[in-house]
Amino acid sequence: MMLSFNAIYIIWLREMTRFFRAKSRVIASLSMPFFFLIFLGLGFNAAAKFSGIPQGIAYIDFLAPGIIGMTLLFDSLSSGLSVIWDRQFGFLKEIMVAPVDRLSIVAGKILGGVTTALMQGILILLIASGIGVKITGFTGFLSSIVFMVLIAVSFVALGLVFASQIEDMHGFQLITRLFAFPVFFLSGAFFPPDNLPVWLRYLTYVNPLTYGVDGLRYCLIGITHFSVTLDVLVLVCFSTLMIILSTYLFSRIEVD
């Protein structure tokens, strides 16, 4: 198998071009995490105390990495929409008939999805620090980007897996949403998983986003539930698996 860097580059460039031309979509997709952060963060900050949040950590500080995880999750998954879009408007034929191996196509798509998700994740992080979330420092910020990339790769690839199997736009949105909400709520983004009943707690342990959020929290506010090593390990394994799966499924796509 020969990776075609030309193909990866131009597929990525196309995603970027389209992203920057659809400004309203960017604003719309940023609004949800923004409201979550503002209303939940500021609201619960004064009202609620979750057990499991260490002393001296404000709720909004605890929440912010979770919201970044959420932004990445939703944005990454929905980047699979570009495949559905391409299928509906016929451009997928142009891509599928190209003399490049399917891994390059998937890589280009993933790179595009990761870049847009990353930009939004960082934007939410900047907004968070703007409204007073305390971040440990610049190295924390830089290392958090590593986790953002890992989370984005995982779920962009998973979005492509869905997109390779679902042909219509509404079906895709329905299924990704159905999938994304439990993944998000059971990731420890809102509250420490220890507050959950045991059987639900186990679900959080098999949820890759849990480890992503945990890693982000370590980088940004310095607390961790598992260990950073485990977080990285789980995310690397999961994202590799998703890349392999999405490439395999992509190579089997038939376009009518």
Partner: protein
């Protein structure tokens, strides 16, 4: 060597057989046409050859590469212009061409030169930097054709290349297809339901109906195979002329056909009342002067002459019993078959 060779290639959708056990050999350098009505299986055939659909059974070799296990090698050898839109309408025309050029590994200099070339060809230069969503249907089509030509493929597939184009653009597309075929030695495989297109462009034509090849030859041979030319004459003194004709040596090269009885006449030349004579001949254009000579010699006044040569339309009618122009009927039949297949599938 063949450019394309299929071996019992078949594609079924449930109970519907779209392509049925087709064996075709397409020579390098020829313009080969798949001619048939909508739903005949032309597009399915091309998509299998272009590695976009996997055959249910059988296989094919494209430029000596197996479509089943060497898809990338096949893709490198071919270019394709799809019947349905396959351009990104959110990008400009130039961006679409640039995408294609980079995916197909054209060098930077060649890329620029080639984009200008193909834009000139389809006369879209002044629209190159406009978003494709603001193009008219015909402009989008022209852009697709330009894109298919970008990378000098060995085999170029054209699925209904001139569908929806105005007569003038059609002509220029035909011209460029011929030019590409001759100058770059590109093998062209096109599907069409336009008789004149197949006739004008193709060295050989396969007539396809219900997923099967029912005839395959050059347009001229196909037309010859179903009958000779017909010369229709209207003469004043028909009996005199008929008598003269039957004793002349022209009879070696023709048959007389009488409109009133609709049968070929051998000897008994009881001509029709309206003064028309129908002569079945080969090379009608060469026979007409000889007939006129005879008429002149006999002092018979010929009022009108009409020459009808068999068309591919006649060929299709001959082999299928229906006209290819019965588009609506054909579509309806196709839909019914699809529906039938679906209903059976859910049972």
């Amino acid at each position: 060597m063949f450019a394309i060779k299929t071996d019992k290639i078949t594609k079924t959708y449930g109970d519907l057989v779209a392509v049925n056990n087709v064996d075709i050999e397409i020579n390098k350098g020829e313009i080969f046409g798949l001619l048939g009505p909508n739903g005949a299986g032309k597009t399915t055939m091309i998509k299998m050859l272009a590695t976009l659909l996997k055959p249910t059974s059988g296989f094919a070799q494209v430029w000596s590469h197996n479509i089943l296990n060497e898809p990338d090698a096949v893709r490198r050898s071919i270019g394709i212009v799809f019947q349905n839109p396959s351009i990104d309408i959110e990008l400009t025309g130039r961006e679409n061409l640039n995408f294609h050029a980079i995916v197909y590994n054209l060098s930077k200099d060649l890329r620029k030169k080639r984009i200008d070339e193909v834009l000139d060809l389809v006369e879209l230069h002044d629209k190159a930097d406009v978003f494709v969503k603001n193009y008219s249907g015909g402009m989008q089509r022209r852009l697709e054709i330009a894109r298919g030509l970008m990378h000098f493929p060995n085999v170029l597939f054209l699925d209904e290349p001139t569908l929806g184009l105005d007569a003038q653009t059609r002509r220029s597309v035909w011209g460029y297809i011929k030019k590409l075929n001759e100058e770059e030695n590109i093998t062209v495989v096109l599907t069409t339901h336009y008789m004149d297109e197949a006739d004008h462009l193709c060295g050989r034509v396969a007539i396809i109906d219900h997923g099967e090849i029912i005839a395959l030859d050059s347009p001229a041979s196909l037309k010859k195979s179903i009958g000779k030319d017909t010369i229709s004459l209207q003469v004043m003194e028909k009996d005199i002329f008929l008598n003269a004709l039957t004793v002349s040596d022209l009879m070696k090269d023709m048959e007389l056909h009488d409109v009133s009885s609709d049968k070929f006449l051998d000897g008994s030349l009881d001509g029709s009342l309206d003064g028309y004579l129908h002569l079945s001949v080969e090379n009608g254009e060469k026979m007409i002067p000889r007939i006129m000579d005879l008429a002149h010699k006999e002092g018979v006044f010929v009022q009108s002459v009409d020459l009808h040569k068999p068309t591919l339309e006649d060929v299709f009618l001959h082999f299928t019993g229906r006209s290819i122009r019965e588009q609506e009927a054909g579509k309806k039949e196709y839909m019914q078959r699809m529906m039938g297949a679906r209903m059976r599938g859910t049972r």
